[in-house]
């Protein structure tokens, strides 16, 4: 059963369908939360919260999108950063209604084709450390560009340039 059909079943109140969503996506959601929070208990809390959002409002996802994995990844990262910064759900970094989802067709490629993910991994690994680190610090540690500049001792402009360069490398790997 694909995501769209699964979500339609969830929208009809099927707990079995929601269990299937859990089985399909709990690993990626948990590992992203763990990467940000580095504490298993907190990571599980975020995982449960994010997946329960799907249960509470499945109609928000039932669509032609079919890229639930990508959406969950982004939401999980953002919610984890909120927890890291100890923000309340009412003061989220990126409220759910503001999250800009990638185009479903694009993300179908990204999420469904392992080889593409592997290309992205290789591209990231190929980055020099001075580019990998600011990207990691910004995305998975939730640091601002100013904080990264202070932490790495690099000028602010350099931090921005390196983050941008790292992101462009990923984009090129996805769309050579």
């Amino acid at each position: 059963m694909d995501d769209a059909a699964l979500l339609e079943a969830v929208a009809e109140g099927s707990q079995d369908a929601m269990a299937a969503v859990y089985d399909r996506y709990s690993r990626i959601v948990y590992c992203i939360a763990l990467r940000v929070l580095r504490e298993p208990g907190l990571a599980e809390d975020v995982m449960q919260e994010v997946l329960l959002q799907v249960w509470k409002r499945p109609q928000s996802f039932v669509s032609q999108r079919g890229n639930l994995g990508a959406w969950l990844s982004v939401v999980t990262r953002n919610r984890s950063i909120d927890v890291l910064r100890k923000r309340s759900p009412l003061d989220q970094l990126d409220p759910l209604d503001e999250i800009r989802l990638p185009d479903p067709r694009d993300m179908a490629l990204a999420s469904e084709q392992n080889w593409l993910m592997e290309k992205v991994r290789v591209a990231i690994d190929s980055l020099p450390e001075e580019q990998q680190d600011p990207l990691e610090l910004a995305y998975f540690h939730g640091l601002s560009h100013t904080e990264i500049a202070e932490k790495t001792g690099s000028p602010l402009g350099t931090v921005k340039t390196r983050i941008r360069a790292g992101l462009m490398t990923i984009r090129k790997a996805m769309n050579p």
């Binding site: 929208a11 109140g13 707990q15 929601m18 269990a19 859990y22 709990s26 690993r27 990626i28 948990y30 590992c31 992203i32 763990l34 990467r35 599980e44 995982m47 449960q48 329960l52 249960w55 509470k56 409002r57 928000s60 999108r65 990508a70 990844s73 982004v74 999980t76 990262r77 970094l93 990126d94 759910l96 209604d97 999250i99 800009r100 989802l101 990638p102 185009d103 694009d106 993300m107 990204a110 999420s111 993910m117 992205v120 990231i124 910004a138 995305y139 939730g142 640091l143 601002s144 560009h145 100013t146 990264i148 921005k160 340039t161 983050i163 941008r164 992101l167 990923i170 984009r171 996805m174």
Partner: protein, 280 residues
């Protein structure tokens, strides 16, 4: 952080990660409301970041986490019909709740006046509406004078009704005056919004005709990049003029600006780009 027209690419990358300062985040959000090019650049960054997130080596959650999740699921109700987790317009697929049937501006006004204003105040309101519709300094001066007169009990509610009927009639000529000769005047609109009561007035001119099944919709832009709030739908007459008079709008909003989009008939809960009119 940006050139005259666009947000710098590096800042868009940081915005996608929430790594800008609060002020920069707000400025970027505002720009994205009106810039398709930066919005597209942001979308590409977000695709890349979603992929970046998914490259994280998978780790299985604790064995008993599934049981805890299912137990929580069993006690968590689903929230049907509450579109608070909508996604961006271009990707969200939520079916918006059926909009409330709106009253005509004139009927709304009459109900509003009868419910809220006794004679003297009504005269002041009528002049306010004219000021909105025509945006003439002299009318604003008249408003001031009328307010004084209204306080003195000299305004005439019958006169108010006539003024309102004229303002909302489809059988009058409305002309926007410009300096010099304007061959093809651009669409423009004026909004007055009173946050305390949610009262809102809009007057627009030179609007493009709408395709069948479409309507213009006014949005209140909130600070902090919060979701724009719908503030009423309207359609222009054959000459491109439109007005919304005292349409019920959300109250208590610290409006950062206003925007107008084209939506499906009946209106939408989230704006669909492009924004055809905006101002702050």
């Amino acid at each position: 952080m940006n050139d005259r027209l666009h947000i710098a690419d590096s800042d868009l990358a940081l915005y996608a990660m929430g790594s800008l300062t609060a002020v920069e985040m707000d400025a970027t959000r505002s720009h994205l409301l009106v810039c398709a090019q930066c919005k597209e650049e942001l979308r590409l960054n977000q695709i890349a970041l979603a992929a970046y997130a998914q490259t994280t080596p998978e780790v299985a959650p604790p064995d008993d986490a599934r049981d805890r999740f299912m137990a929580q699921l069993a006690t968590t109700p689903q929230l049907h019909g509450q579109p608070q987790t909508q996604l961006e317009p271009e990707t969200q697929a939520i079916i918006p709740a059926a909009p409330q049937e709106s009253l005509s501006p004139w009927r709304t006004f009459k109900l509003f006046v009868s419910a809220n204003f006794a004679g003297p105040l009504a005269g002041a309101l009528a002049v306010l509406l004219i000021a909105v519709a025509i945006d003439d300094v002299k009318f604003r001066e008249a408003l001031h004078n009328e307010r004084i007169a209204a306080k003195q009990g000299k305004a005439d509610s019958v006169q108010l009704a006539k003024l309102m009927e004229m303002l909302t009639s489809t059988h009058v000529r409305r002309v926007v005056l410009h300096q010099g000769t304007v061959a093809s005047p651009p669409p423009e609109g004026r909004v007055v919004y009173e946050p305390n009561s949610g009262r809102l007035l809009l007057s627009a001119s030179n609007l493009q005709p709408l395709p069948a099944g479409k309507t213009y919709e006014l949005w209140i832009l909130q600070p902090g990049g919060n979701k724009p709030l719908p503030a009423g739908t309207f359609k222009p007459d054959a000459l491109g003029n439109a007005a919304m008079i005292l349409v019920p709008a959300p109250a208590g909003v610290d409006a950062q600006g206003f925007g107008v989009t084209i939506e499906n008939a009946g209106g939408s809960d989230t704006p669909t780009l492009p924004i055809v009119l905006s101002g702050s």
